[in-house]
Symmetry: C2
């Protein structure tokens, strides 16, 4: 048995034991461990990592001398004991991201965290070269969350088989021309044994998640999705639970994990994958299984305000296992309403990617993508970037949204500018500021103390502005921000709620107001 | 008594009688007339037009020899008889606009009518020069509906007293600097006698409505509005009914009249004007009083999909007196849903005006205004233009949206291009075409026979398109439309639902597809 002696708070403690290799270790061996500190106890599942190696992992959140004891139905793994010392976090280790207040996030140590997400669903199953390139691209940009899948992806522009699979077996057939019919894989066409994981596949995933953590990036990990031609989206309840238990045993100790139960869950019922009434059980299962209570949500396809007359329903985000809204919508005007209704953070994880593919979700301009970030954030929500540029029809060049690789677009550096602007001005989160109806008014928010206001004018073209929603008794210094050209210009006069001022005539401007003390 | 001998179908028959001038002719004299044709009878109210002249007007919809007999509580007006011959309509007389099918409009004779509205609320109370300029501007453009108020308007940029008032009396006070408080006029500050109309005011209004009809323009006449500092928005039920009866007696015979019960009715309750529960009575009153059953609706301020959590409510457009939705919203994605829900035409009478004033409703670009027309119309609805350009803060130059006058913007001629395109291609209305969700997909619609499709790409930037919602068995000729530069280019190949085709990279393109027979 190999255990660590010392581990930093919120870092991963790992215990490795040798055990049986015969039979099916994933099914036959039951391994748990109880971690104890000053009367606090938590019991968690271990997992089989192949080659006779069994592991138990835990992310301690409290400092002190922890004791560990194993329980197993195999004598060589049972009753093993270890101790380790959990010491205070150092450096860039702020712990996992949690919900703070009701509308926003923070690191566990209280450090501000505002998600600036991006999307590269199946990057961890691309070639090693593309994986490395993805990490290099992320390092050069300012995204601090990435949406990514556990399983490989079968979709338009996603027609290459992965080098590895999460389960023992092989695909029985595949096509390099995608059609939706591929998702309707029949039982007899499934070539995988869902009782036998491929540890190598998960080791590779973990390695990438660890590298993301080193870059300060949260892995918003999608556990199920409909883009499946192998059968991973139709394993049934028993193997879904087995998979979740295995995955959580492996990954819950990574402090930068978020659980995204599914991408576009509401597409899965009609193809005979996972039915609408199964999600609550799966969501609760993750919530119960995860000893570290990472963030958890579920992501829709149908835009409910538009489709409310159809049978497709918005997921009930009030369910207790859901920590935040992870939505697909471009109805950004609803942000403040949803914040009030659910009392949970609102993340627009899909709001039209910058790119030029033939689908509406992926032919937004850079201006449009950036505009969504400003409009959503200043209403108190968070936006997620994606990029879908192709050279020409049916190119095989990696597309960031699906494969990672390189970014070609014009929005990422401008999103980075917004992130820096908020950090430089100590916005721990943005409090939406109620404006005169109707809905098309300026987007505006403030810091918690209402000493700083941000107002986004977007592509409107007012000759002048009067910000009559400001506190009436206060004067403000003003900086005019060109969100596209990434410049800030100090306005020469002090303004207040009654000041009428003119701006240069150009689109995508914003204003930063700082209350004079 | 002077009656006409011959009147064209849907034109105005007018009977003039001399009667008493003493007392209060508006209140004391009750005058009606019964119109009969082949056993059909309709009895309608006459009105006092000043100078001892009483009139009865009627718009006959059936040809034949009509008989008229008057009833009055004054002997000299009672029992008068007349006959006239109603002959078939000629030339550009297609009758009033009515609802056709469930989603669209047509003239009474079946000629197609697609509303292309504009907005100049108080143009008929501006100087004679501005009124003439307004009509000249309308003649030079392609709008065929105009939203306009009966009463004068008190609002930002609307601070000049009109030359005439609709009632006998004079304003007790007014300010040339507008604030919302002006709308809270107290009873003791009302200087008008609501029992005595000023016929000259209504004659001027009628003259302008007649001139609109000669230009082929529908007068979408707003009967009440909150922008009032004189008391016309707080006359009480009795005088509201008196006003409506008088107005309808005067105007229901104008074939180009639409009744817009109120503009922004939902702003009127909080200022003590007309309460929310009063509108249904007023709406029904108009419906019962109008012998010609003109179109009738009511227009909101609050955008209900956004404000549904507030106390402000969307008006119940399912009420039987409401012929169509007349809404303020920029949630154009809801168009098809509202069509389905209400089974009535959907008109976005306010969706952000082209201009540069400081309010969100009036700082849209020309691109944005044009974009709304395409996005709304191709989803089966109708849009209304408005223009709010100012030279600089607080200019007194007429602004089209409020005063009429001149147009300075770049959207009107492009809206005219769209109107001509639809007419040239014989779109009697546009049938929305269901597209793949989510909501941000292309806007697309067809003609009733589904032999012509229009697809709007807007500011999306797809490298290519596959229009897989087209009928699968059909081939189409395609014309690429540059909606901004107003050009059409024939695409060199035949396309079908599976064709992948590339477009020049530029924004605001649309496609017209014509099915090959």
């Amino acid at each position: 048995m190999i255990g660590m002696n010392t581990v930093e708070q919120w870092q991963r403690y790992e215990l490795t034991l040798s055990g049986p290799t015969d039979g099916n270790p994933f099914m036959d061996v039951q391994l748990k461990a109880t971690f104890s500190l000053n009367g606090r106890q938590v019991t968690i599942h271990g997992f089989y990592d192949g080659n006779g190696q069994y592991k138990v992992r835990y992310m301690p959140s409290m400092t002190g001398h922890w004791q560990v004891v194993t329980h197993a139905n195999v004598s060589e793994l049972d009753g093993q004991m270890a101790t380790f010392n959990c010491v205070a976090a150092t450096g860039e280790n702020h712990g996992p991201v949690i919900v703070a207040g009701k509308s926003h996030f923070a690191y566990a140590d209280g450090t501000a965290y505002l998600p600036f997400g991006t999307t590269a669903y199946a990057w961890t199953v691309q070639s090693k070269a593309v994986q490395a390139q993805t990490l290099a691209t992320l390092k050069d940009n300012a995204f601090n969350k990435i949406r990514m899948t556990v399983f490989p992806k079968s979709y338009s522009y996603n027609t290459t088989e992965p080098a590895m699979y999460p389960y023992v077996g092989a695909p029985k057939h595949h096509s390099d021309v995608f059609t939706d019919d591929l998702w309707r894989v029949k039982p007899e066409d499934i070539g995988f044994d869902f009782s036998r994981f491929n540890p190598e596949y998960f080791q590779s995933l973990e390695d990438n998640i660890e590298k993301l953590d080193q870059l300060g990036i949260q892995a918003d990990l999608i556990l199920f999705h409909p883009y499946d031609c192998w059968g991973f989206a139709r394993m049934g309840k028993r193997f879904n639970h087995l998979y979740l238990r295995y995955l959580i045993a492996r990954l819950a100790s990574y402090k930068n994990i978020w659980w995204s139960l599914a991408n576009e869950y509401d597409l899965m019922a009609s193809t005979g994958q996972i039915q609408l009434d199964e999600w609550d059980d799966l969501g609760q299962f993750v919530h119960m299984e995860d000893p570290s209570q990472h963030l958890e949500s579920i992501h829709n396809f149908y835009d409910p305000p538009v489709h409310k007359a159809t049978t497709a329903n918005w997921y009930d985000y009030s369910k207790p296992w859901i920590t935040h809204l992870s939505i697909q919508s471009d109805n950004v005007f609803f942000t403040a309403q949803w914040l009030q209704e659910y009392q949970k953070p609102v993340v627009f994880d899909e709001c039209r990617y910058e790119g030029n593919i033939e689908f509406g979700f992926g032919d937004n301009t850079a201006h449009g993508m950036l505009d969504s970030f400003w409009r959503i954030m200043l209403r108190g929500g968070y936006a997620t970037h994606g990029e879908t540029y192709i050279d020409k029809p049916n190119t095989k060049r990696p597309i960031w949204w699906a494969h990672g690789g390189q970014l070609y677009g014009d929005s990422p550096k401008r999103i980075a500018f917004l992130r820096k602007l908020l950090a430089d001005n100590h916005f721990d989160y943005i409090k939406p500021q109620g404006l005169r109806a109707p809905s098309w008014e300026l987007a505006a928010g403030s810091n918690a103390e209402e000493t700083k206001f941000l107002i986004y004018i977007g592509d409107n073209q007012p000759e002048f502005e009067i910000l009559n929603f400001l506190p009436t008794a206060a004067d403000f210094d003003m900086t005019v921000i060109d969100t596209w050209n990434m410049t800030t210009t100090v306005y020469p006069k002090v303004i207040n709620a009654q000041t009428c001022f003119q701006l240069e005539r150009k689109p995508y401007q914003a204003l930063l107001l700082t209350k004079k003390m």
